[in-house]
Each structure stands twice: as C-alpha cells, then as structure tokens.
Symmetry: C2
Subunit: 194 residues, 2 copies
C-alpha cells in the first residue's frame, strides 16, 4: 500500500496548502493529516518539502485542468459554460465554508520570488489551464488571440475572486465575476458571428 500512502500525503498537502499556504504548513502537519508516519514523507519524497510541494502543484494542475471538459462538454455554448464554472466554484466555496479554493494560488504567491523551481511548476500549471480554456474558446470559433485573452482572464478572474471570497466569506464575488466573464465571452462570440 505504498502508493496509497504517497497519494494520501499529496492529498493532505493539497488541502493544507490551500488553507494555510506553503510556509505555514509544516511537514509534520502534512504527515499527521495524511495519517502517515513522519518518516514516510522523506521515504516517498527524498527531496523534502520542495519535492513534495512540486508534486502537489502538478497534481492540482491535473485535477483542476480536468474540470474544464466537465463544464464545457455538453454546455449550450462556451459563454454559458463559463458562467456555470464560476457558479459551480461559488457553490463549492460555500459548501466548504470558504476553506478550499485553489490549492496553488497561495503557494504561487509565496514562491514566486523565493523558489525558482516551484515558481516554474506553478507557471506551468497556470499555462496548462489557460491552454485548455483557449482550445475551448477557439473551438467555438474565436480567433486564437481573442480566445487566449479570454482564457487568461478566466483564470485570473477566478483566482482573484477566490482571494476576495475567502477574505470576505462571501461567494457572491465569484458569481459577480462569472457574470462579467459570461458577458465578455458572449460579446466575443457575437462579434465573431457577424
């Protein structure tokens, strides 16, 4: 069951990082949350906290990147899918009492100026998310530059709305932000259809 322990450690890191950030989360706290012996962390991650954090970042990139098809497949159009994604995020935030938003945003801000390998890991995840969204907007008929700009704004808006929503314990921020993004995508689609 070694694999299960390793997975539990990554999952525990993901949960604690999004609630307390990178520096605020100790290796012992991760081991305790994963119900794993402290030594197991260094067995599975000989590179220590940096290696573990890198794995948490990449795992979050895969998990949250996989949400894009969930919202965009079968939606009437990409504008509606965009709004649904923000509404879904708002509901999720309320359900967890604003504890679990993005697993890597706090880490990204902490390591951007202090840890180059981890900064690159977060940059790759954001680029992956932006790429997935760009493909959807392009598939809806938007020019590549327009699609990319909307995708960048989608991720930026959601990440920023998470910051305000967690601070205020009010998810209406996320819905307001989603409404603006909905209108932006709708306007781009209308313009492309002219």
């Amino acid at each position: 069951m070694g694999a299960a322990t390793r997975e539990r450690i990554i999952e525990a890191g993901s949960i604690l990082f999004r609630r307390q950030g990178y520096a605020g989360t100790g290796m012992k706290a991760i081991a305790a949350a994963a119900q794993a012996p402290f030594g197991s962390i260094y067995h599975f991650f000989p590179g220590g906290k940096d290696e573990l954090t890198g794995e948490v970042i990449r795992a979050a990139g895969r998990v949250y990147g996989a949400l894009v098809p969930r919202f965009f497949d079968g939606a009437p159009d990409t504008a509606v899918a965009t709004r649904c994604a923000f509404r879904g995020a708002a509901e999720t935030l309320r359900d967890c009492n604003y504890a679990d938003a993005c697993p890597i945003a706090a880490v990204a801000l902490e390591v951007a100026s202090t840890n180059e390998p981890l900064r690159l890991a977060t940059a790759e995840v954001f680029a992956h998310w932006v790429g997935g969204l760009t493909a959807r907007y392009e598939g809806a008929g938007l020019a590549p530059a327009v699609a990319h700009r909307l995708a960048v704004s989608f991720v930026s808006m959601l990440e920023g709305a998470f910051v305000l929503a967690r601070a205020s314990k009010n998810a209406q921020v996320v819905e307001d932000a989603g409404e603006i993004m909905f209108e932006a995508v709708r306007a781009a689609l209308d313009k492309a259809a002219e």
Copy 2:
C-alpha cells in the same frame, strides 16, 4: 525619531509580505529589513506579529486605495481609466521584476482560514477598494448593482492577474485582463447611455 522607526517597520513588513507571504516572513527578517533593532518591533507592536500584520494590511489599504483617484481623475471616461490602471500595474510589475504586486493578497489567502482578526482586516481593505471603484462607476452613470459588479470584478481580475503574472514573470497577463475589463466597462456605459 520613534515614528520613523515604526513607519520603516511597517514598510519593511509590506515589502516582505508581498514577496514571501505572512508565514514565510519572520519578525527578525522584518527588523533587519527595517534597519531596526529586533526589540523595537515589540516596543512599537506589543501585540506581536498579529498586530504588526494588521497595521501592514491597513496601511496597504490606504496606500492602494489612494491610487483610484490617480487613475480616474482626469481620464476621458471610466473605461479608459480602468484600462490605464491595469496597464500601469503591468508596467510596475515589469519594473520590479515581478517582486512587488499586492501586499495583502498572499497574507489574505494564508490567514483566511487560520486567523479571524486578520481575515477581517483583509476583508475590510478589499471592501474599501471595491467601494472606491463602485463610486467611480456610479458617478459615470451606471446603476449601483452594475457598478458594484464591475468594481468587484476589477479587484478580482487584478489580484488574479497578479498571481499569474508573478508565477510566469510575464505582465502581458495583466494587460490582457485589463483589456477585458475595459470592454466590460465600455459595454456597460454604452448600455446605460441607450
């Protein structure tokens, strides 16, 4: 010159918090950056790290809230002012090599689930910024609900774009986000003028 020392400590905290976050910044590092003796921190902030952090948060709220008039006074209209604000932020980010974005975003994410007094302090600052922007959009003739939604989206978009820009060391994200916000404000103004 006691006041000067106190100000230097707050300024040092503001710089270190935005680069390393709350938990990642030690009191000794703040004292060193402020060129103040370690004991002076506890002389001026008997409440310790929490009291100092609260002051840093509130100071950032005043300083950055004062930027709103800078961009909106004298601008042709609020849509252009919105875009100018994002372009200015992008330029500032490039000039500091992506080190200094928002002083409280990282802190806000770290304390939201762990420190209720500091969470409230960050929430009040975000509300102050949103309020200042809402007043500008209302002053431009937009309905209160529309103005508020645009103001919330302004702050969310900028905060989120900061996260992506710092991670990727690319300020184009901020300009792309500003273009979307420009178009959103422009569309709202056009609709209100019908």
